[in-house]
Amino acid sequence: MIGLSHYLVVSTLLFALGLYGVLTRRNAVAILMGIELMLNAANVNFVAFTKFVDPTFVRGHVAALIVITLAACEAVVGLALVINAYRHLETVNVDQVDLMKG
């Protein structure tokens, strides 16, 4: 029987993978992808808890949907920033975007 902890394990691992991507990638778009993985891991948790712990008002679904929406917003703004940075600096590697360095 697949229970809550199964889902939690998957989401934890997915979260760790995403975090690893965020921590080690140089490319801004790749970092964004890592963030998406982390958000997805959180969403799996929300939906799993809704089914197994607290189905009132399907709160978890609501939270997951809001997260998805905000993820879309974040991707849009983040990618716009990437495009803009690329246009000005011709790189999307975050360690090379260092105009403010003395």
């Binding site: 690893y20 990638r25 790749a30 992808m33 799996v44 089914k51 679904h61 997951a64």
Partner: protein
């Protein structure tokens, strides 16, 4: 092993392998394409959790829109040229340590906590229940989200457009 467990393990494998490819691929296009099975796998998990509406939205927004956007931006900026550039920064070993440690710790905590039984059954018709939830108790969150969407829409246009 019953069908549900089979489906769960298949989906979990799909999610984790896909996620691994996303963070590991040297080729950014590959990484972005690997997002597709990951996100679809997550959508599959939602199906197993009886969250049909979230599934549909997950596919529509994440796979259909965000991934396409990411691919688009990769193609507009670097394309495949990333192959010749170092893709990782210098903190790989440390990051591995921290992420691994965090995962182990969280797993240890999560698996041991007794979460207790479900407070009740899921409402039968999902989209309706979600809609009612959005418009009755969580209307403020809903409205604020819509405001954020508007702001990010305007912001993205302002940031990304070519300066005249």
């Amino acid at each position: 092993m019953n069908a549900e467990a089979l489906a769960f393990y298949a989906l979990a494998a799909m999610v984790l392998v896909g996620g691994g490819l996303v963070v590991q691929s040297r080729n950014l296009v590959h990484a972005a394409v690997s997002l597709v099975p990951t996100l679809l796998g997550v959508a599959g998990l939602y199906v197993l959790l009886h969250a049909e509406f979230v599934t549909a939205i997950q596919i529509l927004i994440y796979v259909g829109a965000i991934t396409v956007l990411i691919l688009f931006v990769i193609l507009l900026t670097e394309g495949a040229t990333g192959l010749r550039v170092r893709q990782r920064n210098e903190q790989v070993p440390l990051a591995l340590l921290v992420c691994g440690g965090l995962a182990v710790l969280l797993l240890g905590v999560l698996v041991r906590v007794p979460w207790g039984p479900a407070a009740g059954p899921l409402p039968p018709y999902n989209p309706g229940a979600v809609g009612r939830s959005f418009l009755m108790p969580y209307v403020l969150a809903f409205e604020v989200t819509s405001l954020v969407i508007l702001a990010s829409l305007v912001g993205a246009i302002v940031i990304a457009r070519r300066e005249e």
